[in-house]
């Protein structure tokens, strides 16, 4: 098949105050008509910059294209003047971005924005019909009404659909999708991926799908290319790639993804970080982090070798060794999951409710309540991990904050070691706070940029009166850094000098500084790359075993749950719908919502036969979660549930006991006669 788009030796450099960053350093890629190509890479690998360069959308004047050609048919896009590029953008190559919230103009109606893509010579009526056609095609219900609506009236998933409609309205030959599902919930992600595949099948366009997620790539791609530090290190067909990745980096990535299969062992971690792109590389870029590194790797750049369509840039596959030699990976160390039976509950939460009043704008009268948390009961035992799972907006973060008394609960009890936390005055609570700590999601927002690492670590000790002498605090801070795997030289530096993973280690060290019994981890790995996520998860698990810590692990990533948790609680719109021991819930989910969540998780389907993309996932929930201001009557989930019955619309289901540890709230299962 002739290539639709041919990228040849593309180099994009950025001039910064510190020097020249070679963000993209010689990328070559072919995309055939109708093909979907996944460009896979961690943050900072240059994948987005490469895509921006295709359309000449690089930030000027910092970014410049140093070398290379991008051929769309016969035309070299890099040498096309700006005036002619306008005819290419949107018409021949369209782009969708990661963040649907900021990609739509908030003061224009949806209809007007999408109409802009269509030829201005068309009569208004024809354009309107066309826009409504596309809105309908991307699965936006009631397109006539949506045509007149503004972006803020749409939910996140709807906005991304609208972005896709906008991209498709120009009927492009190639769609560049830059992490289009990263900001979305897993159920919405599955819907959008299905939609993209369906549209691709119908229109026959090609797609360049940029992602950091191996599983997402396996869902959408015909071919996969892996980028590392500005160059492509491996490229292959989907089945060949997921059947047997060749480059050591790719192999490591596969082993770093958490899942239940890896429950008993430490996750594979890639030591170190992506090398600085300000240097001119002499050897292999991955050499410093590679297990198989030998002298040649440090002196000679590996050449690009292709064998039956599977290209790789690694010395292991050159010369006499023969390209088909697959490299055997050393097995990671086995760490047995300590079998801890049900223990004394450390934290007990009974019927916790957090409602936020909505004030009318002028008189500040309360006009409604956001029922962020609406009756949650859970308990965490000593040395155990409870995973609280749910989509964004379901109130799981608020549960964490209410337990920590960072927001005041409206009703219910929070008992920690038998003490009611919710009735205490702030000053009485202060000494108890050292038993109960928190690690937040965003490592960039959770460290004060104006404080030294040592000050950050010593703040809690100072507040709690641990080691009053400064020297004692210093040595404790050093010990803490060692405990989280960092050196003492970090103490006199500022957080901004460190990477996301290192910062998250500081956050964990800060939490440990006051010797807590329970740490509430609020999505601590969701802002991190896969290889770094593995480091943090391993660390959390090691600390749990060494210090017999308990975790309340708040997450939306079921892979992490499978890897780390003992018990799971699934939350939907402020209420728990199912709780149980991890294998019960994940292997035998009872509630339709839990089943849907599990079905929506993209899986790396590598050993599946055939080369076509995975068929649309079945059993996905319809639409998106309703607002917690006005939850549906009866069972909250009935509006999206494929198995909803008449009863679901009127009564909230009572808990049903499946086993001694497994509870579910659903009318499909007969309620307990005696729910005590």
């Amino acid at each position: 098949m002739p290539a639709l788009l041919k990228i040849d030796g593309l180099k994009v450099w950025f001039d910064t105050a510190g020097g020249t960053v070679r963000a993209v350093d010689g990328v070559s890629l072919d995309i055939a008509a109708g093909e979907s190509m996944a460009l896979l890479g961690e943050s900072g690998s240059g994948k987005s910059v490469a895509a921006m360069a295709l359309l000449q959308l690089l930030p000027q004047p910092a970014g410049r294209i140093v070398a290379g050609r991008v051929l769309l048919g016969e035309r070299d896009l890099l040498r096309t003047p700006e005036r002619d590029m306008r005819a290419v953008r949107g018409r021949r190559i369209a782009m969708i971005f990661q963040e649907p919230q900021t990609s739509l103009n908030p003061v224009m109606t949806l209809g007007d924005q999408i109409s802009e893509i269509l030829p201005a010579s068309w009569p208004r009526r024809r354009r309107r019909e066309r826009v409504i056609y596309w809105l309908d095609a991307v699965g936006i219900s009631d397109p006539e009404r949506r045509y007149r609506e503004y972006p803020h009236q749409l939910s996140g998933g709807m906005k991304q659909r609208a972005m896709i409609a906008m991209a498709l309205a120009g009927e492009p030959e190639l769609l560049v999708a830059d992490e289009p599902t990263t900001a979305l919930d897993v159920t919405i992600q599955a819907q959008i991926l299905d939609l993209l595949k369906e549209l691709q099948r119908r229109t026959g366009m090609a797609m360049l799908f940029i992602t950091h997620d191996l599983a997402v790539a396996s869902q959408v791609a015909d071919r996969v290319a892996v980028m590392y530090a500005g160059e492509i290190v491996e490229s292959a067909d989907r089945s060949a790639f997921f059947g047997g990745a060749r480059h050591p980096y790719t192999q490591k990535l596969f082993r770093a993804v958490p899942g239940r299969g890896k429950r008993g062992e430490m996750l594979e971690v890639i030591p170190g970080g992506v090398p600085s792109l300000m240097q001119e590389f002499r050897g292999c870029r991955f050499a410093d982090r590679c297990d198989y590194v030998w002298d040649l790797c440090r002196t000679t750049m590996p050449a690009w070798r292709v064998d039956s369509g599977h290209g790789v840039r690694c010395h292991l596959y050159g010369g006499a060794a023969g390209i088909s030699t697959s490299v055997a990976a050393p097995r990671p160390a086995e760490v047995p999951v300590r079998a801890i039976g049900p223990s004394q509950p450390l934290l007990q939460v009974r019927d916790l409710k957090v409602h936020f009043p909505i004030h009318s704008s002028i008189l500040r009268r309360v006009v409604g309540q956001v029922r962020a948390v609406d009756g949650v009961t859970l308990s965490v035992g000593t040395g155990r991990t409870l995973a609280l799972v749910g989509e964004s907006g379901c109130g799981k973060t608020t549960v964490g904050k209410a337990i920590l008394q960072l927001v005041a609960p409206t009703a219910g009890e929070v008992l920690f070691e038998g003490t009611r936390l919710d009735r205490m005055t702030p000053s009485a609570l202060r000494p108890l706070r050292r038993r109960l700590q928190v690690v937040f999601q965003d490592p960039y927002a959770s460290l004060d940029p104006r404080m030294l690492v040592s000050e950050i670590l010593e703040e809690g000790m100072h507040a709690q009166g641990i080691d009053v002498a400064a020297a004692g605090r210093h040595s404790r801070a050093r010990d803490l850094l060692e405990q989280v795997g960092l050196g003492a030289e970090a103490l006199n530096r500022y957080p901004h000098e460190f990477s996301g993973g290192q910062r998250q280690r500081f956050c964990i060290a800060r939490a440990l500084s006051v010797e807590p019994r329970l740490i509430i981890c609020d999505e601590p790995t969701s802002a991190l790359d896969v290889s770094v996520q593995a480091q943090i998860l391993n660390l959390l698990r090691r600390l749990q075993q060494e210090l017999s810590l308990s975790y309340l692990f708040i997450t939306h990533n079921l892979g992490v749950v499978e890897y780390l948790a003992h018990e799971v609680a699934v939350m939907y719109l402020g209420r728990l719908v199912e709780t149980g021991v991890v294998h019960e819930v994940l292997e035998g989910p009872r509630h339709p919502y839990t089943q849907a969540l599990l079905a929506a998780v993209p899986s790396i389907a590598g050993n599946r036969a055939g080369n076509g993309p995975v068929p649309p996932s079945a059993g996905l929930p319809r639409g998106e979660a309703p607002s917690p201001v006005n939850p549906p009557a009866g069972c909250h989930y009935h509006s999206r549930c494929p198995q909803a019955m008449a009863q679901c619309r009127t009564d909230y289901p009572a808990p049903t006991r499946i086993s001694a540890t497994h509870w579910v709230r659903c009318h499909l299962y007969p309620a307990d006669p005696d729910p005590s």
Binding site: A62, K401, L404, L406, L429, R430, P431, R433, R434, L436, Q437, V438, F440, Q441, D442, A445, S446, L447, D448, P449, R450, M451, E459, G460, H462, A463, Q464, Y494, H496, C507, R510, A511, S513, V514
Partner: protein, 471 residues
């Protein structure tokens, strides 16, 4: 041993010394903290800002020299008084430096570089008859034997000023080059080329150019000021250039002390309102919405007039003219501060509300850190960039405000040297025929230079400190 002078510390002097101490302390603190040093380093790399800083420094040094006050000892006969007697007139170090400018007082108006008075006077001739003529000035061009020599004399003095300043400037350039060569070591030639091309890390070329201009100006004043009235004289014969130079202190004081007065209010109220919310927030909001709803000119007029009344009733306490001027100036600063803190307070309240929900504040709460410590350790350091930006941007506005208020008649004491008073006086001068333009022009020139330099510098500071401006 009796000192030849007795130091006098006015209220505003004390506050200026305090401000100086605070600035030096901030400088030391900033040098030790990377998050503060980095943006200042960015300011240091900006050629325009550094050139403006040189001009600002010249103004500030002048203002500081004018803030060292004392009373000279009188050498007259001591009749029955124990100890030395000091003059009732309070002088400043600047007054001594500019002694010729201060003491060369003519009868009335004279044009720049004039030899004769601007207005004709009745002169009694030796024969007893009276004639209306333009009398020769007492000091302006007094050294000339023949009036026709004026052009030649001015040229000679200008050339001498040029030569002197060139010599001094060359010495400074040499010192800078020597420093550049040393650190890091490089050849003299390459150091010179880099300097001439403006490729040095610190923009020496721009700084030296603006320093050259400042030196040239000072040398010209030193050479010409004693012999002529460079910018003419005003109605009472005072040298206008001297008035404009003396006004520098007034302008700087209004621009900085006002900030000093309002800063504690704005910072404390803004941060507390934002952090605690609830009734504290309601109270602070109530106060500043009320204050900002009153027209500020009205508030200032009311304040100044009641102060005038108070000083008239307690005339004995303000016997000294310098003291009276000083109290009036300080109270103007306070009144301006009271009316202008609301803007900063509002900004700080908003920023604090944003910060309060940041994860690191939440983590501090979860660690059991007390509210006061959270505010001082986490919130205030993280809003300081807003304070700094607001202060430098506000400075030029306040200098201009003084001019406007003095023009309206509610500014500083009418006897005090200030650009506003000069402009106020120019109201009548502009109506004369021929026009007396030099007072207005001098005030405009000095104020314009200060405000322009301050604005250029403030822009660079904002670019460096505002996180939204950073790339």
């Amino acid at each position: 041993m009796v000192m030849p002078f007795k130091p006098v510390i006015l209220w505003t002097d004390a506050l200026i010394y305090l401000l100086l101490a605070v600035s030096i302390a901030y400088g030391i603190y900033a040098a030790r903290h990377e998050h503060l040093r980095a943006p200042w380093r960015q300011v240091r790399r900006n050629p325009l800002a550094m050139a403006a800083l040189i001009v600002l420094a010249a103004y500030i040094l002048t203002g500081l020299a004018d803030s060292i006050h004392f009373r000279m000892r009188l050498n007259g006969p001591q009749t029955g008084v124990q100890g030395p007697i000091y003059s009732p007139q309070v002088l400043s170090a600047l007054d001594l430096l500019c002694a010729p400018l201060r003491t060369h007082v003519e009868q009335t108006y004279s044009a720049p570089f004039a030899l004769y008075a601007f207005t004709p006077q009745m002169v009694r001739l030796p024969d007893g008859s009276h004639v209306l003529e333009y009398p020769r000035l007492r000091y302006g061009g007094a050294g000339l034997k023949v009036p026709g020599d004026r052009a030649r004399d001015i040229t000679v003095r200008c050339l001498r000023a040029g030569a002197e300043s060139l010599l001094l400037w060359a010495a400074i350039v040499g010192a800078v080059v020597a420093w550049c060569v040393r650190q890091p070591p490089e050849s003299l030639r390459s150091a010179l080329t880099r300097l001439a091309r403006g490729e040095t890390d610190t923009p020496w070329r721009a700084m030296l150019a603006s320093l050259g201009a400042v030196i040239l100006f000072i040398a010209a004043v030193a050479n010409l000021g004693g012999a002529y009235h460079i910018l003419g004289t005003d109605q009472v014969g005072q040298d206008v250039l001297f008035e404009a130079i003396k006004s520098i202190r007034t302008g700087l004081l209004i621009g900085t002390l006002t900030t000093l007065v309002m800063l504690p209010f704005a910072l404390a109220m803004g941060v507390m309102a934002g952090y605690f919310g609830g009734w504290v927030d309601d109270l602070v909001q109530y106060i500043y919405t009320t204050l900002s709803s009153i027209p500020s000119v009205l508030l200032i007029v009311a304040g100044v007039l009641s102060l005038d009344l108070y000083m008239a009733n307690h005339a004995a306490a303000y016997d000294n003219i310098a003291q009276r001027q000083d109290v009036r100036l300080l109270s103007l600063c306070v009144i301006l501060g009271v009316t202008s803190w609301t803007g900063l307070c509002r900004l700080l309240r908003g920023e604090t509300m944003k910060l309060r929900n940041m994860d690191y504040i939440q983590a501090a709460v979860a660690l059991g850190v007390r509210s006061r410590r959270i505010m001082t350790r986490h919130i205030i350091p993280n809003v300081m960039h807003i304070v700094l930006i607001y202060v430098v941007l506000n400075f030029s506005g306040l200098v201009l405000a003084e001019a406007v208020l003095s023009y309206v008649g509610v500014g500083v004491d009418p006897s005090m040297n200030s650009w506003g008073n000069m402009i106020n006086g120019a109201r009548l001068e502009m109506a004369r025929d021929p026009v007396v333009w030099w007072s207005l022009a001098a005030a405009f020139l000095f104020m314009f230079t200060l405000v322009l330099a301050a604005n250029l510098f403030a822009d660079a500071v904002r670019d460096a400190f505002d996180p939204r401006m950073r790339k």
